[in-house]
């Protein structure tokens, strides 16, 4: 069976600014209907990649192939741009009514007035702001304005929509509601979407694939499950929330379980690397269980360490507990668990995690 050819195929894309290469993408294929999220810290090149893919900044090298046709300055640039659209971090609404904003792209394409009205009103309704059509766009709240910006993009029925951190300037409840609505709309319309964000939770909720970027390069591009559970390196691991990262040496291996020595402690991890192999172990805080007494014998967790709590940080609905287990580790607990176990700074506690929760990367 052969895979369908990608909707957008990128080869050797390179962008430089002030003589410095800010983007280097040897290859990237995006298939119709998929939602690809670019995540990475500020300056990773996410926005540059989106702008380059949308042909809004000039790439020094490389080719962008849309539906099998090369897109460049002399060939089909405008036609390509009229098949895609982009939503930025700021809503960037025009100084007119919400309706005219949403109709702007259609008007640019010289779509007949009656069709514009139907398409714009449908997009407004889809984003739940049909009642705001006659309002001054500059007087909308942040959430309403970003909904109008998204409606303006989706009114065009684009083949690809590029979203550059569209939720980052919104307050949490507004962001949650908009992400839910966008998720439903993407499922319904099956619009190919490439979104940049630095929030892994946004990426996990919306994406079919996640690309982790750093210094203008894609370090890993995989399904959300693969990226989160099998990060290719330490950077990806830490960026996707694997907070505990420990350097160690494999000191033995039996029946698919490795013993990894970390300082004076030994961690059991799934794997079959040979003795003496230098490795890096990643453990996600949500996979660490805390208990007041040793659970050994009563649990399938192969790792239990007597630990001391060094710090407790509230994170809204739950707490992050910093532990000293002979090595530093973090765990998440809920408010009831914190109270039931009388967790406080300086208290002794047992920390457990399964061998399967340890993600091992060769150093």
């Amino acid at each position: 069976m052969t895979l369908p050819s990608p909707l957008l195929d990128v080869k050797n894309l390179s962008v430089t600014r002030g003589g410095v290469e800010v983007l280097d993408i040897p290859s990237l294929a995006i298939h119709g209907g998929e939602v690809l999220t670019l995540i990475g810290p500020n300056g990773a090149g996410k926005s540059s990649l989106l702008l380059a893919l949308a042909c809004l900044i000039r790439a020094e090298h490389g080719s962008i192939i849309f539906k099998g046709r090369h897109v460049n300055a002399d060939n089909g640039m405008l036609n390509y741009r009229r098949n895609i659209t982009m939503v930025f971090q700021e809503p960037l609404l025009f100084d007119t009514t919400v309706f005219r904003n949403v109709a702007a792209g259609l008007k640019i394409r010289k779509v007949p007035g009656r069709e514009i009205k139907g398409a714009a009103m449908a997009a407004l309704a889809r984003f739940g702001i049909g009642h705001l059509a006659g309002r001054d766009a500059k007087k909308l709240s942040g959430g309403e304005a970003q909904r109008a910006s998204l409606a303006r993009a989706f009114a065009l029925k684009p083949e690809i929509v590029f979203l550059d951190e569209p939720f980052s300037s919104l307050d949490p409840p507004t962001r949650e509601a908009l992400i839910d609505d966008l998720h439903a709309i993407l499922k319904e319309t099956k619009t190919t979407t490439i979104m940049a964000t630095h929030d892994i939770m946004e990426a996990l909720r919306l994406s079919d694939r996640i690309a982790v970027m750093k210094d203008g390069r894609i370090l890993q591009i995989d399904s959300p499950d693969e990226v989160v559970n099998h990060p290719v390196d330490e950077f990806v691991a830490s960026f996707v929330g694997m907070e505990t990262i420990l350097d160690g040496n494999v000191t033995g291996s039996e029946k698919g379980i490795m013993a990894v020595t970390v300082g004076t402690r030994v961690i059991c991890a799934v794997g079959s690397l040979g003795g003496g192999e230098k490795v890096r172990c990643g453990i996600r805080p949500e996979q660490v269980i805390l208990s007041a007494s040793s659970p050994e014998g009563d649990t399938s967790a192969r790792n239990t360490f007597e630990s001391r709590i060094t710090k407790i940080v509230p994170l809204g609905l739950f707490y992050k507990v910093y532990l000293d287990c002979g090595f530093p580790m973090t765990a998440y607990v809920t408010q009831p668990s914190l109270e039931n176990l009388s967790l406080r700074e300086g208290a002794a506690v047992f920390a457990s995690f399964k061998a399967t929760a340890v993600h091992v990367i060769r150093r």
């Binding site: 809004l56 009229r82 659209t85 982009m86 930025f88 700021e90 100084d95 001054d136």
Partner: protein
Amino acid sequence: MELIIEGLKKAFLLLVTFDPEVLGITWLSLAVSGTATMISLVFGISTGTAVALANFPGKKFVISIINTGMGLPPVVVGLFVSIFLWRNGPLGFMGLLYTPAAMIIAQAIIATPIVTGITLAAMQHLPPSLRLQILALGATRPQMVWMLMKEARLPLLAGVMAGFGGVISEVGASIMVGGNIKGYSRVLTTATVMETGRGNFDVAIALGIILLLLAFAINSILTQIQQRQRPR
């Protein structure tokens, strides 16, 4: 005090009786300054937009030249336009000196940097990513420039008002290149200067009031255009 009251009475009389000479002067002022403003809009808006949107070496220097031009002294403009249009000057063969056309040229030179500078500031004040957003909506470059101008329409119309205000009220260049010839190149400002010099304060006050009313009327119309169709 009596002088002022008498002046106001005479001014009122000249205005209500539609004195033909005053009407002619008013019409010429409007025609000269209106035409000069229109010319300055063509050059000023296009130059201001081009400089704002383009990136080139020496851009800051060009901007400082434009900003300096916003304060161009009318007498200096009058001097250079006179030299160029003088009988033996480079453009003397055109025979334009002491004509309304020469006044239009001088006033357009005064107004263009004002319109250019305000256009430049207005376009630079727009969010930089707005250009990318418009292109991402599928716009051609001319469509993008037009949409940016629409976004900057409030300060752009302020530029029109500033340009017109600058030239309708200037006197130095108009006297130098127009000559204040009765019935031919006499405008409100040059006539006011002349009548004041002669001690005809009543006529000067009348002309001054007309000048103020004219400026007020034009700016009111432009303000109406500027503020219209503002959504709720």
